[in-house]
């Protein structure tokens, strides 16, 4: 979720840039990068690689971070660009091969929360459906609908006009609804008002 106070976030960011080593900075930032990449690309077999690339990029560029935007916006942008670059590379690479079997990231139940198997499967299905959206639409839908970012924040992250963001959001929502149409929990039938009242 986005930080509530912009000013405070920027002050903390400057202090972080000024007063910490790369390693310490990464220790502070890694959880944020991990969560952000998980939002954009969780459930993929190459998720760890994406986290690795994004976190290394953050570490490399950290010295040049000027604090003009929120730190979370800056890291989100790095995650987004890493994902786009990786998907472009992957599409080119994939043209040369055919895969024997699709890979899904394993979902593991955290022991202390004890979610039900049904809940785990729902979350896995949702991530799988989100992963089927195009990278640009997926990013906007995840950031806006599921993470609660404002269109202005998203425009800064994806470096696009807010109107473009809204258009991607509309198209992404439509695509996601179509993908989930037959889902037993998120599908049209399951979400119909009469179904809920029963």
């Amino acid at each position: 979720m986005p930080p509530s106070d912009d000013t405070e976030d920027r002050v903390e960011t400057r202090a972080l840039v000024a007063g910490t080593s790369d390693r310490a900075a990464l220790r502070e930032i890694f959880p944020m990068v991990y969560r952000q990449m998980r939002s954009l690309a969780g459930g993929r077999a190459d998720f760890d690689d994406l986290v690795q690339m994004a976190a290394e990029q953050v570490l490399r560029s950290f010295g040049s971070f000027a604090g003009r935007s929120k730190l979370s916006t800056w890291t989100y942008r790095i995650c987004y660009l890493t994902l786009l670059r990786h998907e472009r590379w992957y599409r080119r690479w994939l043209k040369r091969f055919s895969l024997a079997e699709g890979g899904d990231l394993e979902t593991q139940a955290p022991a202390h929360d004890e979610p039900t198997l049904d809940e785990l499967e729902r979350a896995a299905r949702l991530r799988k459906a989100v992963a089927r959206l195009s990278p640009k639409r997926r990013t906007v839908v995840v950031l806006h609908d599921l993470e609660g970012h404002s269109p202005q924040d998203i425009a800064a992250i994806v470096a696009a006009n807010p109107l473009t963001v809204r258009s991607r959001l509309r198209d992404g929502r439509r695509d996601l609804a179509r993908i989930l149409a037959a889902d037993p929990y998120f599908g049209d039938d399951a979400c119909l008002p009469e179904e809920n009242e029963r």
Binding site: D48, G102, P115, R166, C191, P193
Partner: protein
């Protein structure tokens, strides 16, 4: 047919209201009251947000990811050296060599070695029938053990496997057969170690996806006392095998997780990848390792083959039942009993439902 909203612009506002980023204007509220499509879309949005919010990474997950990140962040050289061309040169040589082999000009040395190391009968029957990239892309390589002290210390400086027979470097596709009573120590460059006990076949694959750069695949083998030949356990699916001991706590619920019968439920659609996941699950159950078994079943639960997927879901449900989590798996069992991919899965799921 799913309902369609006649006013898509208003639906955008409805969804924003459902997401709590906008307050409902009278116009939106009126539309929401009348439009079934928007009510359905808003409900979907609420469900997605709830599921997404519950599925966030916890501290343990992030901590283990940080460990993996540091393990994979080896110090990098910045100045290029002449030896930077070595990987490209090696790749070129290998490509040329394979080209010559493909054209029949030369023969591949590992063909004969692989045949010696593993007779054709030793390949799992159901696996051999299924084409697999893992099985065909890289040939299996027999270990080459270091012969003198100097070589041994050189091999030990890099990722290697050590057995009573000697020390051999890890190479892509290395296949090692361990007999009963034999064991091997696998050491990677970052100081990670693991021990493998025979009887089993172990394969090593170079992969950047794993911490340490290597993936180890272990297959149980049945050893014949007379001639000492080994066969992967999975090669003999039809032969009755000892039932995997139930996970602790299973006696109370009467539910044990038997991966052999689960594999049989999966039918012939199982690939080599899923066969290995079943083996992993079986080994984990024997060691009473819930997490690993659960992960293996989860992996199988995403299989593209419906029979494999539903058999794995059933096995996972049994595993959870054995941990006293009957309530959590009930919806899955009900779904399997109603819509399971095979009659046997539906029957077993129904039996479990009736038992409780």
């Amino acid at each position: 047919m799913s309902p369609q909203c006649s006013e898509p612009d208003l639906q955008l506002s409805v969804l924003n209201v459902a997401r709590n980023v906008e307050t409902a204007t009278p116009e939106v509220a009126l539309h929401l009251e009348q439009c079934v499509a928007c009510q359905s879309a808003a409900e979907r949005m609420r469900r997605m947000v709830a599921v997404w919010t519950d599925d966030q990474a916890d501290d343990d997950e992030i901590a283990s990811a940080a460990v993996r990140f540091h393990a994979r962040s080896a110090p990098k050289r910045t100045a290029p050296g002449w030896f930077d061309v070595v990987p490209f040169a090696s790749a070129g040589m290998a490509a040329g060599y394979l080209l010559l082999a493909a054209s029949g000009t030369i023969s591949l040395p590992w063909k004969s070695r692989a045949v010696e190391a593993l007779p054709p009968a030793a390949a799992p029957a159901h696996v051999a029938a299924v084409p697999s990239r893992v099985a065909t892309d890289v040939p299996s390589v027999a270990p080459v053990f270091a012969t003198n002290d100097e070589n041994v210390s050189r091999v030990r400086a890099r990722p290697h496997v050590e057995t009573a027979r000697g020390v051999a470097p890890l190479v892509n596709g290395l296949r090692l057969q361990l007999k009963r009573g034999e064991s091997a120590r696998v050491a990677l460059s970052l100081g990670q170690e693991s021990h493998v006990e025979g009887p089993c076949l172990v394969e090593f694959w170079s992969t950047p996806m794993e911490a340490g750069g290597w993936r180890m695949v272990r297959e149980e083998t049945d050893v014949s006392a007379e001639d000492g030949t080994a066969q992967p356990a999975g090669s003999n699916v039809a032969t009755p095998r000892p039932v995997v001991p139930p996970v602790s706590g299973s006696s109370g619920s009467g539910a044990s997780t038997d991966t052999t019968s689960a594999r049989e439920l999966a039918g012939p659609g199982a690939t080599l990848v899923s066969a290995r996941a079943w083996s992993r699950a079986a080994a984990a159950l024997r060691e009473d390792n819930f997490e690993v078994a659960d992960r293996a079943f989860d992996e199988l639960g995403h299989s593209s083959d419906p029979a494999t997927r539903d058999a794995a879901r059933l096995a996972r449900a049994q595993l959870w039942i054995s941990r006293g989590r009957e309530v959590a798996v009930r919806p899955v069992l009900e779904q399997l009993a109603a819509n399971g991919a095979t009659a046997l899965v539906r029957q077993r799921a129904a039996e479990f439902l009736n038992r409780k």
